[in-house]
Each structure stands twice: as C-alpha cells, then as structure tokens.
C-alpha cells in the first residue's frame, strides 16, 4: 500500500493552514468564456451565461449607439494620423465591446484608469474627443481634467496605472465615498510586475477595483502564447485572492453582464474583481506598426467574423430592440460626430512653449523660472525651433 493511498487530511494537515482548496475554487473563473451571443449574433444557450444577468434592453441599445460612434471615431483618428494630425494612434477597432462595456458598467462618479488604447472609451465616457486625442496629437499633457471627468490620464508604461487605481479606490473607501475604480490592462500588461503588485494590494486592502484585461492576443507583435503559460489570464486573480472571470470580449452583452456584476461586487464591499475579455486587435499596434510581419490575414478575418458591433446589431434587430431606421440614425450621428472632429482637428493647437514650465511643480523653482525666461527671450527674438530662419 502506497503512502498516497493512506493519505488522510486530518493526519497530514499543516497546523494553521486549513483547506484552501474551497476558497480558491470560489475565486476561479468559468471554464470557458461567458457568452450571451454566438459568433453570428444569435442568442447563446443560457448555459453559457454562467450566473450573470442579461442587461436591460435600454442599456444594450445605448451600448450599440456608442459602439457605432466609437468605431467611427476610431476610423477618423486613424485617418487623422495618416494626414499628420496625430503623432500616433493605437486603434481599438474590434475591441468596441470592451471599450464601451467598461464605460457603461460605471457610474459618472466612479473612476476609470485607461491605457493609451482607450481613446474610444474616453469618448464614450463623454470626454471631448479633441481633448481625448490631445496626448496622441503630440502634446505633453493628457488633454482633459482627470478630476472633473473621473478619468486618469491615459497611461503609456504598461500596467503602471494599476497600483494608482488600487490606491485611489482604497482612499475612496476610507473616505466613505461610493466609488468603484475600473482599470484597463492589456494581455502584455499582465506580465508587468506592477499588475501583480496591484492585484496583491487590491486583495489585501479589499479595494473596490475592477481589473479589465483586454486580451487582444498581441503585445505589439508578441502573441499570447509567448506572453504566458497560464490557461487563462483570468487565473492571475486567484493567486491574489481575487474573484475572476473570463468573458467573450467580442460579445457586448456578455462583457456588460460580467462587468456590471464585477462593479456591483466591488461597490458592495466584496473586494476587487478581475475580468479577462478575449478579444482581438484588428488593426496593427499603431499606425507605425506593420502587423503583416507577425500574423496572417486569415487569423484577422476569423476574428472579423466575430465582430462585436455586427453581433450586437444582429441581436438587437432580431429582438426588435432597434429598427433599421435606428441603425441609420446611429450611423448618421456618428458621421456628423466624425465630421466635427475632423474640422476641429485640422486647426493647429495653440501652444505657448513657456507653459512647459508651469506644472512641473505647484510653484516653479528659481531655476525653472530662470529657464522659462530664457525661452521667453528666444521667443521674443523671433526664434523658430522648427529649423526656419531666425
């Protein structure tokens, strides 16, 4: 008889440890991503819903309109980049369900911590699109007021905004504020140490934070298989004592259902939540990237056939929640929005270079005041830093 066969928990349990298996099981994500829609946009079987509730129809219709607008905005931003009006633009085409779902799961009083790929989410949040694109236009600041919009500056160094989100959420709880914080991270970002430290802090301090991992399959050119050996990025949460879920990130209904639950859980004081949304970056990393060097068009086409906007439109039409006229109106609204954006973005921004010194500190140091004066003297002398004649 082997020792294993004789295994009896009460004999071998390490004092003070207990059975951790049950606790871990309650944190685990579903075995397969939650879905409310199949690839074609038809209703998925209820068994795919997990324990999640179908969002109200008006929420879905609102999400649809914002997704139409978001996609048009994204295309316009890409076009503006090609025309030299933006320094760079990381597209979120194909990730509309996550961009809009993340925003709609929140109240206006909640906070959002976006990355550079969340320009669409910023617009959905109600931020002026010109302000939302200010950073990518090549300016030094984020463009909008984070306090007024309850939206942190778009973060470029991967996952580094995660601990900020946790700290702000913890602070809100201590102040008795009814605030949930949603932080966007990508699949590549989950490899960064700050993501893990943030999860750990969120778990320990029971911070009302929802981590939304948009797994779009690529970190620039590096595919998911080279990013992690984990069966799902959602398993990242379990090791930190955080409830986790995985969802079809191209199913807007499922994304909304899961995120609404996650936000509610955090709001109720039940601690943080991690959601992995399986989605796909249809465009290259940015306009400066060439995706043909690392992936083939068949793969892209397969994901395009699961387009989140088409799936939601199909579903809403089939259920009668929207009509062809509604769809036409949404597209018209998006077109007008893009036209206004185009006009405004074709105006050169008015930047006083001396303002570079204004917000390094609350009060400039004597050295900064001196340097600002030097620059002012150059400007007064007609200096042109673009290489033109002085």
């Amino acid at each position: 008889m082997t020792a294993q066969a004789e295994h009896r928990t009460d004999d071998v349990a390490l004092p003070g440890t207990g059975d951790t298996g049950g606790a871990a099981a309650r944190l685990l994500p579903s075995a397969t991503p939650i879905r409310f829609l199949d690839d074609s946009g038809a209703a998925a079987p209820e068994s795919a819903h997990g324990a999640y509730q179908m969002p109200p129809t008006d929420v879905l219709v609102d999400a649809y309109r914002r997704m139409v607008l978001g996609r048009r905005f994204d295309a316009q931003a890409t076009a503006l980049t090609k025309q030299g009006r933006l320094a760079v633009y990381p597209s979120s085409h194909g990730q509309e369900a996550c961009q809009i779902g993340g925003v709609l799961a929140l109240r206006d009083t909640d906070w959002m911590f976006p990355t550079y790929r969340e320009s669409m989410a910023l617009v959905a949040r109600g931020i002026d699109p010109v302000e939302a694109l200010t950073l990518l236009r090549g300016t030094w600041h984020c463009g909008y007021d984070p306090v007024a919009t309850r939206t942190a500056p778009q973060c470029t160094p991967l996952a580094t905004q995660s601990p900020h989100a946790v700290g702000l959420a913890y602070a809100a709880r201590r102040r008795g504020e009814d605030v949930v914080v949603l932080v966007f991270v990508g699949d590549g970002g989950t490899s960064e140490g700050d993501f893990h430290e943030a999860l750990n802090f969120a778990g320990v301090f029971k911070a009302p934070v929802v981590f939304l991992v948009q797994n779009n399959r690529y970190a620039i050119s590096v595919p998911l298989a080279k990013q992690t050996a984990a069966p799902s990025l959602a398993y990242r949460g379990v090791g930190y004592g955080i409830r986790s879920e995985q969802v079809d990130g191209n199913d807007p209904i499922a994304v909304l259902a899961v995120l609404r639950h996650a936000v509610e859980t955090a709001r109720n004081g039940e601690g943080p939540f991690l959601v992995e949304a399986h989605t796909y970056r249809i465009e290259a990393h940015t306009n400066a990237d060439d995706a043909s060097r690392y992936r083939d068009s068949a793969e892209v086409a397969a994901w395009e056939s699961r387009d989140p906007l088409t799936r939601l439109e199909t579903y809403l039409l089939a259920t009668g929640a929207v009509s062809d006229e509604d769809i036409g109106a949404a597209r018209q609204e998006a077109e007008a929005f893009a036209g206004r954006l185009r006009t405004r973005m074709n105006e050169d921004p008015d930047v006083d270079p001396r303002s570079l010194f204004a917000d390094v500190f609350a009060e400039p140091t004597p050295q900064l005041r001196e340097q600002r004066e030097w620059l002012g003297e150059e400007l007064a002398a007609g200096g042109d830093r673009n290489g033109g004649e002085d």
């Binding site: 306090v147 500056p153 601990p163 700290g167 201590r174 750990n200 802090f201 320990v204 609350a362 004597p366």
Partner: protein
C-alpha cells in the same frame, strides 16, 4: 532637551498625523515593529492602525498605491526600508509621481513623501548603504531633501509632508542617532534655503546630509592650519539654493564640495558646474570635490576607505592653490 534625529523624525510624523487627518504613513514593517530604524515607533499604537500601517513587500506597489491615494485626498508618507530597496519603485517615481502634475496640467498634484534611509557608515551589508540622491535630483518634478541636523530632520519632514508636490526625503542613516538640544516642534529655514553652518573667509565647503558633520569637523581642523572655512549645508537638493552658494563662494573665492556618494555625475558635479558658471571671476582655484569612489558601495570592513573623512577633506583643501601651485593631481591625470 537632548533629542536624536530618529526621535525628531518620529515626532514630525506623529505631529503631522495628529494635526492632519489626510496624512497616512505606510510601508514595510512600519506598524507594530515601528520600522527597522524605529522611526515610526508607536505611531500605529497611538494614532491608529489605519494611520500607520504595514503593506505587502513590494516597493513599486507601495509608491504607486500612494500615488493613487494622493489622487484622492490623502497625503501619504511612505517608508522605503533601505536606499537600494527603492529601485523597484523607480519607474513609479520617475514616470508617474514626478510627472502627474505636469501630465494633467496641474489638475492632479501629488502631495506625498517618500522617506528613504540612505547612505552608509553603519556597517550595513550590500544593498543597505547606497547614496542614491543623484537619481532623484535628475528627475524633474521631484523635490529632494537631505537633513543633516536634528532640527532640520523635524522641520524639513513637516514641510515635506505639507508640500503640494512629491518629496524624496533622504535620511542619513548614520545620523539617526546624532543628538542635539532641540525643543520640538521647531521650524527651521524653508525648502530651497541653504544654511551657513560655519562662517569663514578662506574657502567654502559645500555639503549635505551625511557629509555635513565631516565638513564641519574638517573646518574646525583647518582652523588649526590657519584656514578659516565656511561650511554651507544645502539641506534641500531640489529646490537648489544658488543664491547662498554663489554668495559664499564669491566671498571666499575657493570651493570644495563634499559628498558621500560616488563622484561621477553626482550632486557635487552639478554644484561645481553651477559654482564655476556663477563665480568664475571670483575663483582662485578650481572647484574640487571630495566624494566616495566610483565603486559599488563597499562592505563594512572596508567602507572607511570609501567614505570621505576629515583628512581627505583637508588634503583637498590643501590643493586649492594657496600658493598659486596648480592642482597637480588633476593635471597628472589629464596627461597620463
């Protein structure tokens, strides 16, 4: 009343916590233990475990978490346990803490303090004695304070906590147990103000933090050699007090910068550059530096060979061309 620097720092934290509900102190082992240097001794017990608390052992997380709290109404004071353990938090400090105000055009300030026990002289094993000030002062958006006296330890820390911007507060470990007769609370000169710790006429020694006592002792010894040295304590490296430094060197015509950290591209190099930019026509000799060598901080049994001491400062003062003799040391190096 005789007070140690450690007690003064503890009192500053205690008074700040007591007077401002938005102040919180956290880090590794700062709660029940009171910090490995006991700077937070009794704070959790007396002011509440929600005011002074332990965190997971992750410096980047600590600093990033503090930034988030600062975005939402708190004034976090975080303790990094030792100088070299701050490096995991470097990205948070440089890319976020230092830049948040600028990235948001002033909408989001970051009133937080990062306390770092720094520098050597206590027989610490590797990674426990780094002089890391150059990394921080080179980062726009961070203020950097280095107290050298008991009174400054209290006053500068209170000012750091009240400051609307992030302050890296470098506490010289070897001075934690230095004593002075100081009645707390005490208010000394504000940030951006250097102090003349000893008035003199023949040369200016510029020092900060752990090097100040060395500079002062050297000045006393030099007096026996007939040189009357002025000693300037920078106190805050950012903001930097050009006015006091410049006035002193223009008066004395000679300048030596004393620092414990490695010399290459260090604070002393910046000070020397600023002095020659502003005092060139007053200088009778090149500005010289006394610093640690450009080596990883050495282990306890040999650290005394690395640390600037009185003799090394006096030797350097002797090379300030008192008899119009050029400083052969540097001439030789150039020709070699």
């Amino acid at each position: 009343m005789s007070t140690t620097m450690a007690q003064a720092l503890n009192a500053a934290l205690r008074d700040a916590l007591d007077q401002d509900d938005s102040v919180v102190v956290f880090g590794e082992d700062v709660g029940a233990l009171g910090g490995v240097f006991r700077i937070t001794d009794g704070l959790a017990r007396d002011l509440g475990e929600d005011r002074c608390f332990d965190t997971p052992l992750a410096e980047s997380g600590i600093v990033g978490f503090a930034l988030g709290m600062a975005m939402n109404g708190f004034r976090p004071v975080v303790e990094i346990q030792f100088d070299a353990f701050a490096y995991p938090a470097f990205e948070q400090l440089v890319s976020h803490v230092a830049k948040m105000r600028n990235r948001t055009r002033g909408a989001v300030g970051v009133p937080m303090v990062i306390r770092v026990p720094f520098a050597g002289g206590i027989g610490g094993v590797e990674h426990h004695s780094d002089s890391s000030e150059a990394y921080y002062v080179h980062t726009p958006g961070l203020k950097v304070a280095t107290p050298a006296t008991v009174a400054d330890a209290y006053s500068l820390l209170r000012e750091a906590i009240a400051d609307p911007d992030p302050v890296v507060f470098l506490e010289p470990k070897k001075l934690y147990w230095s004593k002075a007769d100081v009645d707390l609370p005490v208010t000394t000169a504000p940030f951006g103000t250097a102090e003349i710790r000893r008035h003199g006429t023949d040369a200016t020694l510029i020092a900060y933090g752990p090097a100040l006592p060395v500079a002062l002792a050297a000045a006393e010894a030099a007096a026996e050699d007939g040189h009357d040295l002025e000693v300037v304590d920078l106190r805050t490296l950012v903001p930097f007090d050009d006015v006091t430094v410049t006035a002193s060197v223009r008066k004395t015509g000679r300048c030596v910068v004393v620092q414990e950290s490695a010399g290459f591209a260090g604070v002393g190099a910046e000070v020397a550059a600023r002095v020659q930019e502003r005092c060139f026509h007053s200088l009778h000799a090149p500005v010289l530096r006394v610093s640690g060598f450009d080596i990883p901080y050495p282990p306890p049994i040999v650290e005394k060979y690395h640390l600037p001491d009185v003799d090394r400062v006096l030797d350097t003062v002797a090379r300030l061309q008192w008899d119009d003799e050029p400083d052969r040391r540097h001439l030789t190096r150039v020709s070699a």
